[in-house]
């Protein structure tokens, strides 16, 4: 019987299958960060359990770390306790950790691929919903809760039920100035935030194949915003080339054998998908979100929706609630939305290509005088690379702040946050109420669009600044 890529990875990781469909799945790679792990380690200690495979686990502090000068450590007491706790736990249980002073430190979903820890055909988990990012490598990668983190630490397995197969095909070529961020925003707008519930999404089609490794990560990253458990893309030569020679990638004979296995990782012809959606790349335009859910998308040429046009009472209410929170009027043009802040970073768009894309727009330009803008590279290595290319200078000359790596204003757990009613063009992934600070208003955009907004001082069309 022809199988999907998800079926294949699933079958290859089955440790046990109960009659009711509950399965025990082997976990090849486990990423750990400071926020969702302390209670898991405590659980292990309380029941006298060990970490079954410390070598299959990699830890990093990212959510709480300051993005400004770190020489004096973390000033927020609670953040410090959490980061210190992670350090102590990793030491006690023998887990490799990239500490705050390590240049390999960064956002957990950025360092995994960078180190070659993320590999095709593996099952990868992390106590973090954006684990879906790693699906770009053709791995089955998904977020888990803290109890499950404890379960994986203790058993290197996870209790799971098989999800449905959902394929999204994107064919064609993207218009100038349109990026993979616009593609995924468009997809979420189309399927809705619960559209993928109970499914694993495979992204396919010639547009997806034409994307770079990093662009693929942006798409898989936001799969969770479409409600799916995981998103993945069949690995190809681009992926193998990316991984070759990375510190934790297989070496020598292992590399050859791994390649042989990886090359077969694709959905068979005629494999059955429970659900399919088709998109034409040519029809995708630069997108923004206007509301408080990632499905609230419009094109940059678009207008804010009018609740009066909505017949369904629940939908009308939620539209009104979102407009009210966002401080927007119905029918307003997207380009008339004035912004206060710009944030470029996060596991969605904090990689080198994202910074290049934004820098290309910002080169020799100044940001609007009322805008406060910052770039937070996704990792120390991204930062280093960007500095080698001189991108930091372009950002700083245009008026951006150039920060240390971490999650930063993506969720505002550290000092970087919006004030009430402040409005931000952000390259992150969630525009929920209060996500970037209480009362803060978030518009999700691509890095190029964030740069354009910084220059114009309002949401604007990146194509205007394209040479």
């Amino acid at each position: 019987m022809p199988n999907t890529l998800y079926d294949k990875i699933w079958n290859d990781h089955l440790v046990d299958q109960q009659a009711d469909g509950t399965a025990l799945l082997f976990v090849d790679r486990h990423l750990v960060h400071e926020v969702t792990s302390p209670q898991a380690f405590e659980g292990l200690r309380n029941s006298n359990r060990k970490v079954r495979h410390p070598k299959l686990t990699l830890a990093v502090a990212d959510h709480n770390v300051p993005t400004t000068d770190r020489s004096k450590g973390i000033s927020d007491k609670e953040s410090k306790i959490q980061v210190d706790t992670l350090e102590a736990n990793c030491k006690e249980f023998g887990i490799k950790l990239f500490g705050m002073g390590d240049k390999r430190q960064g956002i957990v979903h950025i360092i995994g691929p960078e180190q070659g820890f993320t590999q095709p055909g593996t099952v990868i988990v992390c106590g973090d919903s954006h684990t879906a990012t790693h699906g770009a490598f053709g791995s089955l990668a998904f977020g888990i809760g803290t109890s499950e983190v404890e379960h994986v630490l203790a058993t290197q397995t996870l209790v799971q039920k098989k999800a449905k197969n959902f394929r999204i095909n994107v064919e064609g070529k993207l218009p100038l100035g349109v990026t993979s961020k616009d593609v995924i925003l468009q997809i979420i707008g189309k399927i809705g935030t619960a559209g993928g519930t109970g499914c694993v999404i495979e992204y396919a089609g010639d547009l997806i194949r034409s994307l770079s490794v990093e662009q693929r990560m942006t798409i898989c990253n936001m799969t969770i915003e479409g409600g799916a458990r995981a998103g993945l893309i069949a690995p190809d030569e681009k992926i193998f080339k990316y991984l070759e020679g990375k510190p934790m990638s297989p070496k020598g004979k292992n590399w050859e054998n791994a390649l042989g296995y990886w090359r077969n990782l694709k959905s068979d012809d005629g494999a059955k998908f429970d659900k399919e959606v088709n998109l034409k790349a040519e029809e995708i335009l630069p997108m923004i979100t206007w509301g408080t859910s990632p499905q609230d998308v419009i094109t940059i040429d678009g207008k804010i929706p009018n609740p009066q046009n909505e017949k369904n009472e629940d939908k009308k209410n939620s539209l009104e609630r979102a407009l009210n929170y966002m401080g927007l009027k119905p029918n307003m043009a997207a380009k008339d939305i004035k912004i206060d802040k710009v944030f470029i970073g996060s596991c969605t768009n904090g990689r080198i290509e994202d910074l290049r894309e934004a820098a290309k727009i910002l080169k020799d330009k100044k940001i609007a005088s009322h805008v406060h803008a910052m770039v937070v590279p996704g990792s120390g290595l991204v930062k280093e690379q960007a500095e080698q290319e001189g991108l930091d200078k372009i950002f700083v000359n245009s008026g951006f702040e150039w920060r240390e790596p971490g999650c930063s204003m993506c969720l505002a757990m550290n000092a970087d946050k919006l004030k009430p009613e402040e409005r931000c063009a952000s390259t992150s992934n969630r525009n929920f109420e209060g996500r970037q600070g209480r009362g803060g208003r978030t518009h999700l955009v691509s890095p190029g669009m964030a740069a354009a907004a910084a220059i114009s001082g309002s949401l604007d069309d990146v194509r205007k600044y394209q040479n």
Binding site: V15, D16, D20, T22, L24, F26, V35, T36, P38, Q39, E42, S47, R49, K55, H63, N64, D76, E78, S79, I81, Q82, Q119, G127, S129, G143, I144, G145, T146, S147, E148, E150, H151, A154, T155, Q156, T157, V159, T193, A194, T197, G227, R229, M248, P250, N254, W255, N257, A258, Y261, D314, S318, R321, A412, M413, P420, R430, F432, E433, G434, R438
Partner: protein
Amino acid sequence: MQKFSTLKSIPAYLPIVNIDTDMIIPKQFLKTIKRTGLGKNLFFEMRYDDKGKEINEFVLNKTPFNKSKILIAGKNFGCGSSREHAPWALLDFGITCVISSSFADIFHNNCFKNGILPIILNDDKIKELSEYANRKEEIFVDLNEEKVIYGNNEVRFKVDPFKKQCLLEGLDDIALSLNKSKKIESFEKDLKSQKPWIFND
């Protein structure tokens, strides 16, 4: 984990769709290294004003709903971040059953690990049950029978049999999986010979 079998309570009704885990427990409370004590911060931004004072109109601030053990909410409950702090906060507040027409996957899973029963019912039934919240009348949840009883009516729901058993008996997932350690070992042995690169040795 605490067992769950039956539950009787006046339900609280929160008619909002897409309630995300940031709303259930905002990030400033994720800095804890404990599982307990989060109940007072449940739905923090809806529950307290800028000065930290309780907002009287918010349902969980009103009697008798401040004692509700059952929460009824709009669809796609628990979407967003995977934080298990969301069910911990609900549990610490005293809510051990959430009823909605749909749940986000990770949250749904996290509930079962913490002795919380998430029940999926269609929108019509949610409407009927919400009347009980409005009238401040109790409803009754029976996990074993997989039904909710309200007034002279009842509605059946479905739970995964394995998860049901874990809830009913308060079973620890990890202990159950460790009972299968023979199988894990043999899987690992095969893996080492077939895909040695996984272990990096």
